[in-house]
């Protein structure tokens, strides 16, 4: 009954943990691009898994390299994550969007003839990926599947890196509005009446009929006969499964408004990320929601102590190496000190800025700048940092 579930073809569900007794808590991570949202979400998931919470992290359209770092792969199913301390408790689901869209259509249409017709429709084939709302739809479908499975204590959703990632919050409601619109039924009916120029000659009763035939003529004029035929066929198929859409939209809306669902805004100490964070706080509150926490990622605090100790050591008792090597190390350490200072100042300003915009009851959490380049090392270090914050996250 869940969207995007391929029990038959997939081995995924077999390797999952048994059902959770306590119900599933959802955490939605949002933030602008480049703040390290995916690694931060993965780290949060890891720290929960270390506390033996059965945890799933969902990332749509991830970089393949991240999947490698987590010891898992991009694909249709939840995969176990191979990281220290994650054993048997941490899973990741990293689908790509075209795959998920096709899976969604498979779920939506039970009738194989209809499925085939939709997938062969030129409108779907040419524009499927860029269809308005498709990313929201996929996100919702995946989310609902996993929540319904009852396997998880925690589901972490890593949304698209955009200010508009929250569009999926309103998507269920918008979808319902659309499905109840008279116009959709009308356009669907055009599938059997494919020649809009004929519409004018039909007997008309009342203003609505008159307006309708005008509208048909205009639509025909814009997209042409062939286009109108394809589009209306697609809509007709969608309308025929209206109940399935509507059920999904209602359940998702309930889930997103459930008091146990948490929203985390992830930021970083750059002007762009700060502007995004403040935009997202306002945007959530417009939907009557409040973030549980604003997380400042890459907030430099104390520089690693080893740097100062090495600096002191080579100044007091120079190692037995050529002097230009010693100079090089000294210059490197000085450059690192400058970087620490600048990053520290930026983090300080960012924390002040975030505290100013955080609504009452929203905590501001800082995660450190990790001096590593490998994604897996960054995830591990951030997971430690999550645990050290001591917050219930």
């Amino acid at each position: 009954m869940s969207p995007i579930d391929l029990g038959m073809e997939g081995g995924g569900p077999m390797s999952r943990p048994p059902p959770s007794a306590m119900g599933t808590r959802l955490t939605v991570c949002v933030g602008g691009g480049g703040v390290g949202k995916t690694t931060t979400s993965a780290a949060l998931a890891l720290s929960l898994a270390r506390r033996q919470r059965r945890t799933l992290v969902i990332t749509v359209d991830p970089a393949r390299r991240l999947a490698d770092a987590l010891g898992t792969e991009v694909g249709r199913h939840a995969q176990p994550v191979m990281l220290d301390g994650a054993s048997e408790y941490l899973f990741a689901r990293m689908p790509d969007s075209r795959m998920s869209l096709d899976d969604f259509v498979l779920w939506l249409f039970e009738d194989p003839v209809q499925r085939k017709r939709v997938m062969n429709n030129p409108a779907y084939r040419e524009l499927g990926d860029s269809l308005a709302g498709v990313h929201e739809l996929i996100t919702i479908g995946l989310l609902q599947t996993e929540i319904d499975s009852g396997h998880w204590d925690e589901v972490i959703l890593d949304t698209a890196p955009s200010r508009h990632a929250l569009a999926f919050l309103t998507y269920p409601t918008r979808l319902l509005g659309l499905l109840e619109a008279k116009a959709l039924g009308w356009l669907a009916a055009l599938a059997s009446n494919a020649d809009p120029s004929q519409a004018e000659q039909k007997p008309k009763t009342g203003l609505f009929e008159w307006g309708r035939s005008k509208a048909e003529a205009i639509m025909g004029k814009i997209v042409g006969l062939e286009g109108l035929r394809n589009l209306s066929a697609l809509f007709a198929d969608m309308v025929s499964v209206r109940e399935r859409w509507a059920g999904l939209a209602r359940r998702t809306d309930n889930l997103l408004r459930n008091p146990s669902t948490r929203y985390l805004i992830i930021g970083a100490p750059t002007g762009g990320a700060m502007a995004d964070a403040s935009f997202l706080v306002r945007h959530l509150s417009q939907h009557g929601l409040q973030p549980s926490a604003i997380v400042l990622n890459r907030a430099e605090s104390e520089p690693p102590a080893c740097e100062q100790r090495v600096f002191d050591s080579i100044t007091n008792t120079p190692p037995n190496v050529p002097s230009e090597q010693r100079d090089a190390l000294e210059r490197t350490l000085r450059a690192m000190q400058d970087e620490h200072r600048l990053r520290g100042e930026a983090a300080y300003r960012a924390i002040e800025g975030l505290q100013a915009i955080a609504p009452r009851g929203t905590s501001v959490i800082r995660l450190p700048f990790v001096h590593r380049s490998e994604p897996s090392a960054i995830v591990l270090a951030l997971a430690d940092a999550w645990q050290e914050t001591g917050s219930d996250l």
């Binding site: 691009g33 480049g34 995916t38 970089a63 393949r64 390299r65 991240l66 030129p122 040419e126 524009l127 499927g128 860029s130 308005a132 709302g133 890196p161 955009s162 200010r163 509005g177 659309l178 619109a181 116009a183 959709l184 009308w186 509208a215 004029k221 814009i222 997209v223 042409g224 062939e226 286009g227 394809n230 002007g271 762009g272 990320a273 502007a275 690693p304 102590a305 740097e307 100790r309 090495v310 050591s313 008792t317 190692p319 037995n320 190496v321 090597q325 010693r326 100079d327 090089a328 190390l329 210059r331 490197t332 450059a335 990053r343 930026a346 001096h371 590593r372 380049s373 490998e374 994604p375």
Partner: protein, 300 residues
């Protein structure tokens, strides 16, 4: 160590320039800088953003007066586009303000992207600008935008909207009419995504980036630091664990140099006309600063 390409100023040939890359790499900053640079050379330049001009306005800052900052809004763009197809804006406005039709139109696949691309085309046809710099959304999404006009042409055939799609493609997307600038960072995840983007650009649009910008490149550490800290670890037992920890950090810094080299290799592999590194900056750089770095073409 990083091999820096010989310094040469970049040049752009087509009037319409699209800027894209993974989220958060500094697309808007580079787009604003390109527009600023054109205006400084006496060209009439526009920076085009969609829906929200906040980040462009922030980057242009005081330099804004040189560049026309065009922020396209969807509702307006749609009325303009439909108005052009129907021959009268008033009909288009009536269509989109009808409550049922409004919902319906919101469900037409990719109409949003199409309307925005149509407005870019209208700006280009207006001849008001010598250079139009379009700040596109992040990687995968940007490709959808550029493909949409042609996709409309294919599935709507010879209808007015199909014809319009063909015109948009021919005038502001086709090779020779537009150029693509790809912004990346010297970080493993970002470079990987950039590689996928360039592959898709070539496969789906037949386009090679005119310029690859490797943003926020750190100066490589001077040679010898590694040897010195290794010697310290071996010679001074009380310093060994600190020295080893520092070696991990230096290794991560060295990785950045490798990733930079990798990004350059990638730019060469996809036959980008130019590749330019921009330095890491402690503050958010302004459009004029970035324009200067782009012209220098080498690490500061």
């Amino acid at each position: 160590m990083t091999t820096t390409p010989p310094a040469k100023p970049f040049s752009l040939q087509a009037p319409v320039v699209y800027v894209t890359g993974k989220g958060g790499v500094g697309k808007t900053t580079v787009a604003a800088a390109i527009a600023y640079d054109a205006s400084r050379r006496g060209q009439r330049a526009a920076l085009v953003e969609f829906d929200d001009g906040e980040s462009g306005a922030r980057t242009l800052g005081a330099d804004r007066s040189h560049v026309s900052h065009v922020v396209l809004e969807y509702d307006k763009a749609l009325v303009d586009t439909l108005g052009a197809v129907l021959g009268a804006k008033i009909i288009a406005r009536a269509l989109v303000s009808h409550s049922a039709l409004k919902r319906l139109i919101s469900a037409v696949p990719a109409l949003r992207e199409f309307a925005f691309m149509d407005r870019v085309c209208a700006l280009a046809s207006s001849k008001r600008f010598d250079r139009i710099v379009v700040d596109l959304p992040a990687s995968g999404h940007a490709l959808d935008w550029l493909r949409v006009p042609n996709a409309f042409a294919r599935f709507l055939g010879r209808s007015p909207l199909g014809n319009l799609g063909r015109r948009i493609h021919d005038e502001v997307v086709a090779v020779g009419r537009s150029e693509v600038i790809v912004v990346t960072l010297a970080e493993p995840l970002v470079v990987k995504e950039t590689e996928q983007l360039c592959e898709r650009l070539r496969r789906e649009l037949g386009t090679v980036p005119a310029l690859v910008v490797v943003n926020r490149v750190m100066q490589p550490d001077p040679d010898g630091a590694w040897e010195a800290v290794t010697a310290l670890a071996e010679q001074n037992p009380s310093m060994e664990s600190d020295a080893r920890e520092l070696m991990d950090i230096l290794r991560a810094r060295g990785d950045q140099a490798d990733d930079t080299a990798y990004a350059f290799g990638l730019a060469r592999a996809v036959e980008a006309r130019h590749v330019v590194p921009l330095p890491e900056s402690p503050h958010d750089p302004s459009a004029s600063e970035v324009a200067e770095w782009l012209n220098r073409g080498v690490l500061s």
